[in-house]
């Protein structure tokens, strides 16, 4: 693992985070937004694991943190999708901008 410096991982993670952000903002379909958020969380995990691997200090913490992020992401996705399905079933549309009953 000699060749790859930490900064490369951070750049990839940063870029992945930015793309995830771009997806979340760009899409009107709720599920697509969720995917964007999943990408961002993956970027965070990448960061964490990379830091735990390269930075001095307790490597375990980073990985455990990543694991927790995974589980939470799963739970969040589950609830999120449940809500999205509920909205789709009620309002027949998944386009977030159509859902603007509440405004002002």
């Amino acid at each position: 693992m000699t060749g790859v410096p930490l900064v490369d991982f951070l750049v990839v993670a940063g870029l992945l985070f930015a793309i995830g952000l771009w997806t979340a903002l760009r899409r009107t379909n709720a599920i697509m937004i969720l995917m964007g958020i999943e990408l961002m969380l993956n970027a965070v995990n990448l960061n964490l694991v990379a830091f735990s691997r390269y930075m001095p200090g307790d490597a375990m913490r980073g990985m455990v943190f990543a694991l927790f992020v995974l589980t939470v992401a799963a739970a969040e996705a589950a609830v999120g999708l449940a809500i999205i399905i509920l909205v789709v079933r009620r309002r027949g549309v998944v386009d977030v901008n159509k859902v603007n009953l509440l405004r002002g």
Partner: protein, 613 residues
């Protein structure tokens, strides 16, 4: 008895209180109590005068108010000046109250009339014997109030109400000037006591200009109250009140209290010679101006009103030039009697013929003997024909004016005297002699009842004889060791000749049937006649000032309603507008919220990076 001087004002005050609380039930009988009280007061007043003449005097004061280190005592003082005036006021007021019993008989507001009269007399008497400026000013304002209430006695006619408001406002302007004077003096002397003012001011060694300013400010009060130029516009309108009131307030007493104030605070004026010159000029001009206007008046009460202004002008002239208040004061006392007499006589004529227009009178001599004779006695005294009191009180003033370094004052005075004689002759001829011009009025004329004619005769006595007997005694009593300046024989000759000349000219124009000559004379002096008729355009000046004040008031009110309120509401609306803008931010789409969220994070990050820790 001198120590009980406070009882004199207390009696009419008691009458007032009786009228207020019990008057309505007792109806006209309540007035009798008032008259009796006034009688007692007159007796007491005269005895005090006699004792004062014997050298007695009193000064009683009781602590009334303590603010910090200033103590303000209240009290009364009996000295020659106050004793004389008090006596005159009590007698004249008594006569007028008796007269009013007849005049105001079965008037619906009889009780209110007498209540106000008694309050007024109490006020006047308190002012006369007050020993300090504060009590004096309080009484001064109470008199203003009573004059206001009595002018609009017949309040149903709104012109009376307007006249009353005008009277009060114009005098108020004067009063406020007096107030400023009082505060200025107080700020220097820290006391209101008349006795202490002059020495304290002298000790303070103020600049002459300041002293003159103080004196003139104090003089502003009398200018308002005694109807001097330019604040004289209210007195003719004040004739709207019942005639006894015109006699009491607007001839004998209230208007004279201004002169009395100048007399009481004369030491202050003596500290400021410049002010005395001012007073002299104002007096002279007022005398001449009022006399000229009186010549063209057709309403008998207006004639007497302008005559009063003119005589007050003389008193002020006396104060200004005579070096002592004696001349002025003596003219005040004598004027109170004969002018009171004239007004009461005019009142009895009006009471009889129900009109005030001289042109509808004529030939009343035969019908109203007593009133006519007393009126004529008064007229002669007023004109200054010897041996009546007018001559003896006016002569020292004119001779002092002649002796003074200001010839204009003398000539205005003397010409005034000529005009006075002229318009009084005109008035007498128009009302009493010649053919009755209005038959209906003539039949209706009848002599007034005794209750009105007796006071006329009583007042006629001092009007005729006061000058002869009391002139010398009065001068030595009020100002021992004072030598009145004399203007030389020419001046005294003139003061004698001109009134006679005035009578002659008056008789010439208005005597006999020579109407053609009268019409020609009037047409010849047409422009002068119109100018005088318009009362030298003073009324218009007053109205103009009033409209300016109302205009400014309206502008201020509009400014308040629109501009100041506008700004406040504007600020409120601004908050609203801001709210509307931020409200559109939340337009309902989750996408926009997320975008704003992340944009904010991005901006925050950049700012932190740039500015940093």
């Amino acid at each position: 008895m001198v120590g009980y001087a406070w009882i004199v004002p207390a009696l009419p005050l008691a009458a007032y209180i009786l009228h207020v609380f019990v008057g309505r039930r007792l109806k006209e009988r309540a007035a009798y109590f008032g008259v009796v009280a006034m009688g007692l007061a007159s007796v007491l007043g005269v005895t005090i005068l006699v004792q004062a003449a014997g050298g007695a005097s009193a000064h009683v004061s009781v602590p009334w108010l303590q603010i910090g280190r200033y103590s303000v005592p209240m009290g009364f003082t009996v000295d020659p000046l106050s004793a004389v005036t008090m006596a005159m006021v009590t007698v004249v007021s008594w006569m007028i109250e008796i007269y009013s019993l007849g005049y105001m008989h079965n008037d619906p507001d009889f009780n209110r009339f007498f209540a106000n009269v008694n309050l007024f007399v109490a006020g006047m008497l308190t002012a006369v014997i007050a020993d300090n400026f504060l009590l004096f000013f309080m009484a001064w304002e109470i008199m203003g109030l009573c004059s206001y209430l009595l002018i609009c006695h017949w309040y149903r006619d709104s012109s009376n109400a307007r006249a009353a408001t005008k009277a009060f406002l114009v005098t108020r302007i004067g009063d406020v000037g007096l107030l400023a004077g009082i505060w200025w003096i107080f700020s220097i002397t820290h006391s209101f006591q008349f006795s202490q003012l002059a020495p304290a001011l002298h000790a303070a060694a103020l600049a002459p200009a300041a002293l003159t300013a103080i004196a003139l400010l104090v003089f502003l009060g009398p200018v308002g109250k005694s109807a001097q130029i330019p604040l004289q516009i209210w007195l003719p309108d004040a004739m709207a009140g019942p005639t006894p009131i015109s006699a009491l307030i607007h001839a004998a007493t209230m208007v004279a209290v201004g002169v009395y104030l100048v007399a009481r605070t004369y030491p202050i004026f003596q500290l400021a010679p410049g002010a005395l010159v001012w007073i002299g000029y104002i007096g002279a001009i007022t005398a001449f101006m009022a006399a000229s206007i009186a010549c063209v008046q057709t309403d008998i009460k207006k004639v007497l009103a302008y005559s009063t202004i003119s005589q007050l002008g003389y008193m002020m002239l006396g104060m200004g030039v005579a070096g002592s208040m004696v001349a002025g004061m003596f003219h005040l006392i004598s004027h109170a009697f004969f002018k009171g007499l004239l007004f009461l006589a005019a009142g009895s004529i009006i009471h009889a013929v129900e009109t005030q227009e001289m042109h509808r009178m004529g030939g009343l001599f035969r019908k109203m003997k007593a009133t006519s004779i007393t009126f004529i006695i008064g007229a002669l005294a007023l004109a200054g024909i010897p041996p009546f009191s007018g001559y003896f009180s006016k002569d020292p003033i004119l001779s002092a004016a002649a002796a003074s370094p200001y010839p204009l004052m003398f000539w205005l005075g003397v010409l005034g005297a000529f005009l006075t004689a002229y318009y009084m002759t005109r008035a007498c001829l128009l009302t009493f002699f010649g053919k009755p011009r209005d038959q209906h009025v003539y039949e209706h004329a009848h002599e007034s009842p005794a209750v009105m004619t007796v006071p006329l005769w009583v007042l006629a006595v001092p009007a005729a004889l006061l000058g002869l007997f009391a002139a010398g005694a009065f001068r030595s009593f009020l100002a021992p060791g004072y030598v009145p300046p004399s203007g030389g024989p020419a001046a005294s000759a003139l003061t004698l000749a001109l009134p006679l000349l005035g009578v002659l000219v008056g008789a010439l124009i208005y005597g006999g049937g020579r109407t053609a000559f009268r019409v020609a004379a009037i047409r010849a002096l047409r422009p002068l006649y119109v100018f005088l008729k318009q009362k030298w355009y003073f009324d218009q000046l007053g109205l103009a000032l009033m409209y300016i004040a109302l205009g400014v008031a309206w502008i201020v009110a509009a400014f308040d309603r629109y501009v100041v309120d506008g700004i406040v509401n504007g600020l409120g609306a601004l908050a609203g507008l801001l709210g509307r803008a931020t409200r559109t931010l939340a337009d309902g789409s989750a996408q926009a919220y997320m975008l704003t969220l992340l944009l904010a994070v991005a901006v925050g990050l950049i700012a932190l990076q740039l500015i940093g820790g």
